[in-house]
Symmetry: C2
Subunit: 321 residues, 2 copies
C-alpha cells in the first residue's frame, strides 16, 4: 500500500470531523487554545524490539503507545486534546497490522475524547512510532516533577510492579500464577491505565503540585522527583503497594525498579492527607502513602524495612542507550 | 554516554532560559498561546539512509532536519515558536556527531528565534529523528493547500531542482559544473531556506490563502494543491524557474519531480499579482508565476511548452513505502 492510500483508508477516520486536523491533507495542524488555558505537550518515541515486539500485534501496540503518552499528560494534570503520529513503516508491517493498530487508537480516542490531527509516515528499516500529544491546563497551574516540597508526603496510585510481572510472563518466566492472575498481569503490561482523572483532580483541587508517571520504575522516577526538587526521599517497604504480600526483598526491589507501571507518583502537603484519602474513595482508586520528602545534602532515596532498618539501594530502574 | 548525560551536556543548552521547556527535566512542556493567536503544529520523521546519510555529519543533518520543519510552518504562514526532538540513537552515533548536531540546531535556533522545549531519546537499530514544531498565526487566518480558488495564479519562490541537482552531485553524478556551481547546488541540498518571512507576508497581508512547501517535488506538491482544492492546474514550462536555461525536456521534468526544494508554492487572486511583484522586490526574493488554477473534472496538471503544446506527464515525484 502506498503512503497516501494508508492515510486515506486508515488514518483519516481517526481525524474525522475535526477542523484542527485539516482532514490530514496538510503538513500542519492548526487549532486555538482556550484563553484561560495553557498547552501541555509531550513527545515519545516507541521502537520495535526495544519498546514493543511486532508479534504483540497492532492493537496492543497502539493501545500501549497512546496510553503511555496520555500518562504523560496525566502527570501534568492536563485534559487531553489531540495527538500527532509519526509512523516508520518496516516491510513486515502489513495491512492487517495497520487495521488493528488503528482500531487500538480508535478505542482509546473514544475513551479519552481525543483526535488525531496530523503526523508523518515513511518507510523504515525497523518499525517505530512517535507520538506528540497535546493537552490543556488552566493558566499558571503546574503539576511537575520539580515542585516537590520538604515534608511533602509521597503517594502512588495502583500497584507497583504488575506491568513488570506481565512482561516477565510474556517473556516466558516460570511461575505458579493461575491463568486469571497471568491475564491480569499481562493486561497491566499491555494496557496501562493513564491516570488522567487523578491528575486533573490533583491539579484542579490544588492537592498536589508535584507528580510524575512511573515509566522507568518507582525508584528511578522518585529519584527524578528528588533530583529536580532538590530534596531526598524516605520511603517504607511495607507501605509500597505490591499485588502480593510477603515477597522476598530481592523480588520487591525488582518490582520497584521494573518500570512501565504508568501509575502516578505525586507529593502532597501533610495538611492535604485527608483530602487525598477522600479523593481515593471518590475516584475508587488505590492511593498509597509510601513516605515523605526531606531536606538532605544529596538527592537520595532511603528505603526502610518494617524494622526501620535501612536497605541499601543500587539499581534505580531503566536507562536507554 | 548515558541518556541523561547527553540531555544534560548537549540538549539542555538548546532549551536554556525558556520556561516552557521546564529545563528538559519533565516529560511535558507547557506554554501559553497569545489570546489572539492559534497554534500551528507540524511533525516530521527523518530516518538514516532514507532521509539522510550519517556520513553527512551531525551539523548538516541537524540543519536540514530543522529547516524542513520550519518550511512546514512557512507554508502555514506561521511565526516559529518552539520545537521538540525525538532522537533514536544508533550505536554508530558518537559524541562528536551529537556535538555537531546540536551546533546545527543552535545556529538555526538563533536565526529563527526558536527554542527546544522537550522530546524523547532512545537507543535504536538505525538512527532517526522526529521533530514536532510549533508556530502561531492570528486567529482565523489560514494558509493551507486546500484553499486554492479557480483562476488563482500559481507562484513559486526561488528555483526548482537546485537541491535535487545537489543530491545528484553528492551521489557522484558526472557533470561539467564549476566547483563554485557544485558548491551552490550542494548547499541547496544540505541547507534549504525555510521561506518563513514570505509565508508570514502572504498570510498577514492576505495575498494568498493557499500554499504548500515543495518537499515531494513541484509536480507532486502542485498536485496536492489541486487535489485538496478540487481544481486543476495549467502550467508553462518556460515560466518554471530553473537555474539553467535551455535544458532538455527530460532534465526539466526530472527537476520538477525531484523534491527537497523547500520553496513555497502558493496561489494568488489575479487582482493581487502586482502586490506579489512588489513583495518580491521588498523581500529581495525571486517569485515566479508559473500558471493558474482552473476548474476541470479531474484534478490534473496540464503542462505546456513554449509552442503551447501539451507535454504528457507521468511521474509526479516521490512517494514513501
Amino acid at each position: 500500500m502506498a503512503e497516501f492510500e494508508i492515510i486515506e483508508k486508515y488514518f483519516k477516520a481517526l481525524a474525522s470531523s475535526n477542523k484542527a486536523a485539516r482532514n490530514l491533507a496538510d503538513d500542519s495542524a492548526q487549532f486555538a487554545v482556550k484563553n484561560n488555558c495553557e498547552l501541555v505537550v509531550s513527545k515519545d518515541i516507541f521502537i520495535e524490539d526495544i519498546h514493543f515486539l511486532l508479534e504483540d500485534g497492532g492493537y496492543k501496540i497502539a493501545q500501549k503507545l497512546l496510553s503511555t503518552n496520555l500518562s504523560d499528560l496525566a502527570a501534568s494534570g492536563a485534559t487531553p486534546l489531540y495527538y500527532m503520529l509519526g509512523f516508520g513503516k518496516s516491510k513486515n508491517i502489513d495491512e492487517k497490522f495497520i487495521a488493528e493498530f488503528c482500531k487500538g487508537l480508535r478505542d482509546l480516542q473514544k475513551k479519552f475524547k481525543i483526535k488525531l490531527i496530523g503526523g508523518d509516515t515513511s518507510a523504515a528499516p525497523k518499525a517505530f512510532f512517535s507520538i506528540t500529544i497535546f493537552g490543556s491546563v488552566k493558566k499558571n497551574q503546574n503539576l511537575a516533577r520539580f515542585n516537590g516540597c520538604e515534608n511533602d508526603l509521597i503517594f502512588v496510585s495502583g500497584n507497583i510492579g504488575d506491568a513488570f510481572r506481565g512482561l516477565q510472563i510474556k517473556l516466558g518466566e516460570k511461575n505458579n500464577y493461575t491463568k486469571s492472575q497471568k491475564n491480569y498481569f499481562l493486561n497491566r503490561h499491555f494496557f496501562p491505565t493513564p491516570q488522567i482523572i487523578l491528575g486533573q483532580n490533583l491539579l484542579a483541587k490544588k492537592l498536589s503540585k508535584c507528580a510524575i508517571d512511573i515509566s522507568d520504575g518507582l525508584l528511578a522516577d522518585l529519584r527524578h522527583i528528588c533530583k529536580n526538587s532538590k530534596l531526598s526521599a524516605e520511603i517504607f517497604l511495607d507501605k509500597i503497594p505490591f499485588y502480593e504480600k510477603n515477597l522476598p526483598l530481592n523480588q520487591q526491589l525488582k518490582l520497584m525498579s521494573g518500570g512501565d507501571d504508568y501509575e502516578l507518583l505525586f507529593t502532597v502537603d501533610c495538611k492535604n492527607e485527608r483530602k487525598i484519602i477522600n479523593l481515593a474513595k471518590k475516584l475508587n482508586l488505590k492511593l498509597s502513602c509510601i513516605g515523605f520528602l526531606t531536606k538532605k545534602q544529596r538527592c537520595e532515596i532511603t528505603l526502610f524495612n518494617s524494622q526501620n532498618q535501612q536497605i541499601k539501594l543500587t539499581k534505580f530502574g531503566y536507562e536507554h542507550f
